[in-house]
Point group: C2
């Protein structure tokens, strides 16, 4: 048996990312892309980072910034995060915080911590594709996380036991979720906490887009609601995953986890075994930039993305044929379209790229069961007003002709 | 059942790092530490990094350096690595290379790729503690990798099958290994290749210290030997893990894997699911520094560490009592002491810190079976001549009195 054959069964756990393949198309000249879902690089606080990296590499800092450091993460950065978390209703200490290499790493570690083959993970239909990719490595069974109250804890348990496992975690992005752009209201958050309490499972709150609210009233993080119920983060099942990727820079790979200390202690051991720590200099520089300009910079991004969202919503109203519906996100980067039944998002993408040069992501990529064939995800984060108007007009033409 | 209880069994897979706890002692004033095994920060190419990060964050670079990038790693860095690998007998292309967040991450991914609970991993007795930590998460059984030829493939298979698994990988650092400082000769490498071929298992070559040779003849990498046998890297079982941590900077977390394309393809998917990619800016800056000063900088480090090794070897000859033996490494950072039978390294450490203020790592930490009680690891990388002479003299006193 060859070496390749010997790990073929392990490889089949992971699905190649359809988004990743799509990104290769974005180089096509003249293409208008609503596919990416990445931050606009023109909005990076680049001057601030240049100054911060220079300070981090000043002679008196080099022995620290280029050296190994502790797995928990750079203490001043954890202190700054603790201060930010307190502002949104999550009182905690630095011991409740682990710095990760992006929140994607947190999802991998949480999958490793909680999931054994055959265990059940509850995820949205649709949900963040990267969460499925991270969890897939640990071979869970997926069940549909319902936030509409039409599933009981008992039905989840019965489904999990029928497969010989237990429900180990529920995962969701509660604010301006990728891919739908939707936000879960307070009542839904309370119901979810009731459900995970009954299921005795972890609740992973992916807060990657939480800071990017453009209008409407902020809903407290699920973790804040659970702390309000229980009195202390130490009694909470919710595990909050934050990220600097959408606010400061994705390329520096900086995220964090906030949870009860026993959870953080396990994740610290896991991180130590898996990559020792997140790059020291990056943590120092992100702390530097965040502590100087975080609020003002996020306000700048919000203003830019809010306008793009508004332009896209107006363009959709102007150009989409009857039978197409879409979400109206209060933040984030995404609008989610439902096409008339019978239309297939993947087929539409192929036609759209070929005939009108417009890209997006077919929605079925975000469904653990590969349903949602008649849905597509549009991102407005990286396009200007003219591109959005032109691209949505063309997309309307393609859908009409489909 | 509480959330904490629900993952207690998973947690028991990992052992808390004894080295990590030890590092906390190093703040004790006046302590002479031979424990760390980390590079001397005075030898970081810090000015070069300051200039490289400034270039990486120049206005025309920001949209790339702060943005998401591909999971495989920054192409110019992989090209540079391919050139370096060719120089040491490993012809390969960029498609044979994955950039990782330190070689520790490569060990984690390789554990994830190859090991299922009950599978057998062959490791040295002793071996790198971080390899055990990385593999432990995947619950292997360990067997002793013998390089002296006193174990047959059949005996490994029989041991693995008795536990219901298969031998999936052999792991070793062949040059100036952590913790022993020893180098495996060409004959041993050939025998190891024969063995892993017979076992049909992967062979992980941890080359973290390979560039740090101070004297003697360089032995070709195991991967080079296997390529010479088979004609192409695509037919090889050896997986080579490189690192910039010991040559340029550990804090930037940059390493790489070189292997046959099917292995790299699997690791790329794994990395994409686990943390998307290693920080873009760090890859750009390390490529910048490496392509400008790698050879001259490594020569500078070699000169400094060579002298410290020589001072420590001389001091050991002068101050160790009869019955203590030690390795004479041709490179790396470590000397491995064997104490008279009956002496316990962990007990000695406690006494040594308390009575003479000298730290080191007890050898049993590096044994999968926790044997090796009468061994200790000394690092000479971070101490000057006076500290080494004084510290070894004091250590000799403590051993005499033990």
């Amino acid at each position: 048996m060859s070496l390749t054959q010997s790990f073929a069964s392990r490889a089949s756990r992971m699905t190649a990312s359809e988004i990743r393949e799509l990104l290769k198309l974005l180089d096509k000249p003249g293409l208008i892309s609503f596919a990416g879902g990445i931050p606009d690089p023109a909005l990076f606080p680049a001057q601030e980072f240049a100054a911060a990296f220079a300070r981090g590499l000043a002679p008196e800092q080099q022995a620290q910034s280029l050296q190994y450091s502790i797995s928990e993460g750079y203490l001043p950065l954890r202190e700054w995060i603790a201060g930010e978390m307190a502002k949104i209703g999550v009182p905690c200490t630095v011991d409740n915080i682990l710095i990760t290499s992006g929140s994607q790493q947190a999802l991998d570690y949480l999958g490793k911590l909680f999931l054994s083959p055959g265990d059940t993970a509850l995820v949205g239909w649709p949900t963040y594709l990267g969460a499925l990719a991270a969890f897939n490595a640990y071979e869970p069974r997926y069940d549909q996380l319902s936030v509409s109250g039409n599933r009981t804890a008992a039905s989840y348990v019965a489904g999990a036991e029928a497969e010989g496992g237990r429900v180990k975690l529920a995962y969701l992005s509660a604010d301006f979720a990728n891919p739908t752009g939707e936000t879960l209201g307070q009542q839904g958050r309370e119901a979810l906490l009731d459900m995970t309490e009954e299921l005795e499972c972890a609740l992973i709150e992916d807060a990657a887009y939480q800071a990017l609210r453009y209008d409407g009233e902020a809903v407290p993080p699920i973790l804040a609601t659970e702390i309000a119920r229980r009195g202390s983060i130490e009694d909470c099942r919710t595990i909050y995953c934050g990220s600097f990727s959408k606010t400061l820079s994705p390329g520096l790979r900086l995220g964090w986890v906030v949870a009860a200390k026993p959870v953080i202690s396990q994740l610290v051991l896991m991180k130590q075994a898996a990559d020792l720590h997140t790059a020291t200099l990056n943590q120092i520089a992100v702390h530097d930039v965040a502590s100087r300009v975080f609020d003002s910079h996020v306000e700048t991004i919000r203003t830019a993305y809010r306008q793009r969202r508004d332009v896209m919503l107006d363009a959709l109203s102007a150009h989409m044929p009857d039978g197409v519906t879409w979400t109206r996100p209060e933040g984030g980067m995404f609008i989610w379209l439902t096409l008339p039944a019978g239309l297939n998002g993947a087929d539409l993408l192929e036609r759209s790229i070929d005939s009108v040069g417009v890209a997006f992501v077919p929605g079925s990529a975000f469904f653990a069961d590969k349903s949602g064939e008649n849905t597509i995800r549009l991102s407005f984060s990286c396009s200007d007003e003219a591109q959005i108007n032109e691209g949505i007009m063309r997309l309307g033409q393609v859908i009409r002709g489909a």
